[in-house]
């Protein structure tokens, strides 16, 4: 599996979807990311990333119910597909393997 088609921001968004399921939609994801990273994240960026992920088949979406605070508009709810889950696991195991190979003194020097 080529992993180059999963950008860093997309990976984070995909992870967040996994975390927030079944109530994952762009506003919530953007806020979650803001909280986690401390940086402002716009819903537009998140939404665009979600569209790309959906095209690649890592997430699917359905239209949810309408709420008053959205002016009576429906929201699009996202869930991670099996393919998306496997990609996440792959990414993670690659990282884990690399982390494990780092010699402990090196890690100390960073802090």
């Amino acid at each position: 599996m080529r992993r180059s088609d999963l950008g860093e921001f997309e990976e984070v968004v995909l992870l967040t979807v996994a975390v927030m399921v079944p109530k994952a939609y762009s506003v919530i994801i953007a806020e979650e990311l803001e909280r986690e990273t401390g940086q402002p994240v716009s819903t537009g960026a998140v939404h665009a990333a979600l569209q790309r992920l959906e095209q690649k088949g890592y997430v699917t979406s359905v239209l949810g119910e309408a709420t008053a605070e959205r002016g009576g508009r429906r929201k699009r709810l996202f869930t991670v597909t099996a393919l998306g889950g496997r990609v996440l696991t792959d990414v993670r195991s690659v990282r884990n393997r690399l982390w494990e190979r780092i010699v402990p003194p090196t890690m100390l020097e960073w802090s």
């Binding site: 506003v27 402002p40 716009s42 819903t43 665009a48 239209l63 605070e69 959205r70 002016g71 929201k75």
Partner: protein
């Protein structure tokens, strides 16, 4: 608390419809959440910034349609198939539609070519912007009259004293007889100074131009060189000019194009040769007041025509003995030679440019008529296709497809018409060239021509197709198919307006044509003052013809083919010049009216058949007649002589050029000049030396060709070298009407085409209306209506339109044509019957057109029209 509205609007407009809901929802929810956390002000600011994150293709690109997308060629093929089926099914309408539009386009193309040709006159010259011709205004009476003839010394004056001129050339246009061996050719050409070849950048095909020292040299146009020498090399061959001087051919130049001021210049000979052979030129060499020659100039770059004109204006008046007629010289730039030739009292008043505008306008109008037809018929027919629209929509056509369909259909028709128009133009161009006396061709290689033609076809197609495409495609299929959709009662109004407009134009053009022809007839019927029948003229262009007046006349009369012969200065249909040196008893001092001079022999009056009103003709019985003078009525009127009493004209002393004369007779006015103008005051005096034209009255009892053969034989014995080159006076006289007749013919052709196109449209519309009302007519007949009432019912509508159109068109025609007639001093009246006749004519044509259809429908058995549903 509400989110800011402007970014919302922007996003609504920007974002693809299928994403709009979720995006706007997201934006609002986020806003409220942020407002809770950060306060409204910051939330608003964030809102603006975050909105920008949506400006990316992922949100803007529209999702492709949910419907299946057949490949475009399939659908277009279907459109064309349906279009062709429609064309074939409604053969008559298709024919009327395409034929009408094609003829309109063809007319517009022809006129376009004509206008193009007129506007391109002389443009081929390299120095177009810097070439000018000398003109002068002279004042014989209260008004300034323009003349394009100059005195010879003016050329040297301009060349030597005015630095604005790059080159200056004298020129004189003559018909000359060129002889080689025993071959004789009468050709027109010019005697010019060497600078001429440079000014007009002569394109030499062989040999070289003549230099300033050459006298006996000549340049030939290619066509003449080929006529004289065939394929042999003409250079250094000798030709004899007017049987007087031999000249060596030094070069051959490319003929001037047909849209050049010099298109009839077939040879160019040095001015010095002219000065050597022409007595007038010898005499006028230093004569400032003898105006007979053209002067062409080329200005230096940057010099301005008006400024130079101002400098040279008073050249003559500053010299000694300024003449009474106060000449004012000025430059006429080449760009105005052809189109702006008319002057009135010292001001340029246009010229042919008026006709360029007029025909341009007619072309556009005829084209407009054709377009109106096309649109009217297309829209009328398309209402029949409402059902088709309904079915197509029910099957799943979206509106855009229907729009494409109708547009492609009308574009197809317009392009077919365009192609057909080419065929028409190609076929009629020879005829059109003949009428307009031009040599035009379709501008196959001119991209602008194609661009204009195709652009116009597209435009017509789009306009004509816009009604069905945009209106019909908006129908709701349910309503159409159920039949509850009714055409609006006002839907026919634009069509009626267009038809009235057509009628207006047709009526105006009809009236215009009639009046143009009446004006020509009016001038033709004017009493000419001499008898043109069997009168021929031969110009005396070889020296052998001079000096044998008596014997020549006797020999000619002895043949029995000639009634009378005389000689005169200039043709009877041309007035060469006049004099202001003319005094009579009772002349107001310090005035110098121009009196036209004519020098004739004793037998002139009998030959041309002038009508002596008072006194007598010249006669050999009176030896005193060498100082006798005959005046025309206009001269008598000018001099204020009366019919009887002490102030009678006969016997009045006249002083001219330092000689005394006595008036012996008064003749009726002879139209030697413009038949649309009053005759100028003229005198006739005997002078056997100033003559250059032989007038011959053929005997009426002999057939013309026999008589001519006999006359030719006599001429052969006197002048074997010159070709027997004669002209019939009635033909030369008819040429005076050339311009008017050309305009009349063209206007006639265009007017009848306009009427024809209108009729085609009317026919189509009438048959369509009749067809639409078949059921109504059936029911009316069942209820007892007669054929006549039904005919009246169907025709009434169009007659009303015609009446409205006539009320609009007649005043327009009146206004335009009374303006046109103002150009002529001798003009016909705009009598009421012309208008009445045109109106009646239009009415008859309309009724004929409409009746054909309405009677056909009225005759149909109601059982047939009501049976089928």
């Amino acid at each position: 608390m509400k989110p800011p509205r402007i970014p919302d609007k922007l996003l609504t407009w920007l974002i693809a419809p299928h994403l709009r809901e979720e995006v706007l929802g997201d934006r609002h929810e986020r806003f409220f959440r942020q407002a809770e956390r950060l306060g409204e002000t910051r939330a608003r600011r964030r809102y603006w910034r975050d909105a920008l994150a949506y400006v990316r293709p992922a949100f803007i690109n529209r999702k492709s349609s949910a419907y299946p997308q057949p490949t475009n060629t399939d659908m277009i093929r279907n459109y064309f198939k349906v279009a062709f089926r429609n064309l074939v099914k409604n053969r008559v309408y298709s024919f009327i539609n395409i034929f009408g539009l094609a003829s309109g386009m063809a007319v517009a193309m022809l006129i376009g070519l004509w206008v193009y040709d007129e506007l391109s006159y002389d443009k081929h010259n390299k120095n177009y912007d810097r070439i000018g011709m000398l003109w002068q205004f002279v004042s014989f009476g209260p008004e300034k009259s323009p003349y394009d003839v100059m005195p010879i010394p003016l050329a040297a004056e301009l060349r030597n004293k005015y630095p604005d001129f790059e080159s200056v050339s004298l020129s004189v246009f003559r018909k000359a007889i060129l002889t080689t061996g025993d071959q004789k050719f009468a050709k027109t050409g010019s005697y010019v100074e060497p600078d001429y070849t440079g000014i007009f950048s002569l394109n030499m095909l062989a040999g070289s131009r003549f230099g300033s020292d050459d006298v006996n040299a000549v340049l030939l146009a290619k066509s003449v060189s080929e006529a004289i020498f065939g394929s042999a090399d003409p250079i250094n061959k000798l030709v004899k000019v007017d049987n007087k001087q031999s000249a060596k051919v030094v070069g051959v130049y490319e003929d001037f194009p047909s849209n050049s001021a010099f298109k009839d210049v077939f040879f160019l000979a040095p001015w010095k040769l002219f000065a050597a052979i022409d007595d007038g030129a010898k005499r006028d060499q230093n004569e400032w007041d003898s105006n007979s020659y053209q002067v062409y100039v080329q200005l230096k770059p940057g010099a301005d025509f008006d400024a130079v004109s101002a400098k040279i204006k008073d050249i003559r008046m500053k010299r000694d003995n300024p003449p009474r007629y106060k000449p004012e010289f000025f430059l006429h730039p080449m760009s105005k030679w052809h189109l702006y030739r008319d002057f009135k009292n010292g001001v340029n008043t246009g010229g042919i440019i008026v006709f360029v505008w007029l025909f341009g306008a007619i072309g556009i109008i005829v084209l407009l008529l054709a377009c109106i037809n096309f649109m009217n018929l297309s829209t009328a027919r398309s209402e029949k296709r409402a059902k088709e629209v309904g079915i197509r929509k029910a099957i799943g056509s979206v509106r855009a497809q229907l729009i494409y369909q109708f547009f492609s259909e009308s574009l197809l028709m317009a392009l077919l018409a365009f192609a057909l128009a080419f065929v028409f133009v190609q076929l009629t161009l020879p005829f059109f060239n003949q009428v307009s006396e031009k040599k035009m061709t379709i501008l196959w290689s001119n991209p602008w021509f194609w661009l204009a033609g195709l652009g116009f076809s597209l435009f017509t197609g789009l306009i004509a197709g816009s009604y069905p495409a945009l209106y019909l495609s908006s129908f709701q299929p349910v309503k159409v198919l159920k039949g509850t959709l009714r055409a609006n009662r006002f839907a026919t109004i634009p069509r009626k307006v267009l038809v009235s407009f057509q009628f207006t134009v047709s009526v105006t053009l009809m009236i215009g044509t009639i009046i143009v022809f009446r004006q020509i007839e009016h001038a033709k019927n004017r009493s000419v003052g001499y008898n043109r029948n069997g009168l021929i003229e031969i110009s005396m262009n070889t020296p052998e013809l001079y000096g044998h007046y008596g014997t020549l006349r006797d020999d000619l009369r002895a043949t029995g083919a000639v009634d009378e012969m005389s000689e005169s200065s200039g043709s009877v249909t041309v007035q060469y010049g006049g004099t202001t040196d003319f005094t009579w008893k009772g002349k107001t001092p310090n005035t110098s009216p121009l009196i036209m001079s004519n020098f004739v022999t004793h037998d002139y009056g009998k030959t041309v058949g002038w009508q002596v009103k008072e006194g007598r003709d010249f006669s050999r019985e009176f030896s005193t007649d060498s100082s006798a003078i005959i005046l025309n009525e206009a001269a008598v009127k000018l001099m204020g002589f009366k019919n009887s009493g002490r102030r009678t004209a006969i016997g009045q002393p006249i002083r001219r050029n330092g000689r005394d004369y006595t008036v012996i007779g008064v003749i009726r006015d002879m139209i030697k000049e413009d038949p649309f103008k009053p005759v100028n005051p003229s005198f006739f005096a005997l002078d056997y030396r100033s003559v250059n034209v032989i007038n011959i009255k053929l005997a009426s009892q002999l057939p013309v060709n026999e008589a001519l053969a006999k006359v030719e034989q006599v001429f052969r014995t006197y002048s074997p070298a010159a070709p027997f080159d004669y002209k019939f006076v009635d033909e030369t006289y008819a040429e005076k009407f050339g311009t008017e007749e050309r305009i009349g013919k063209l206007a006639g052709v265009f007017a009848s085409l306009a009427v024809l196109i209108s009729c085609l449209g009317l026919f189509g519309l009438a048959s369509f209306m009749a067809e639409q009302r078949t059921k109504e007519i059936g029911i009316r007949k069942v209820l007892g209506a007669s054929v006549f009432t039904i005919w009246g019912l169907l025709s009434k509508e169009f007659v009303v339109l015609l009446v409205i159109a006539f009320c609009l068109g007649a005043p327009v025609a009146y206004y335009v044509l009374s303006d046109w007639l103002q150009n002529y001093e001798y003009r016909t009246e705009l009598s009421w019957w012309i208008f009445a006749a045109s109106g009646l004519g239009a009415l008859v044509i309309t009724l004929l057109t409409v009746s054909f259809q309405s009677i056909r429908v009225a005759l149909v058995n109601p059982v047939k029209s009501l049976r089928s549903e």
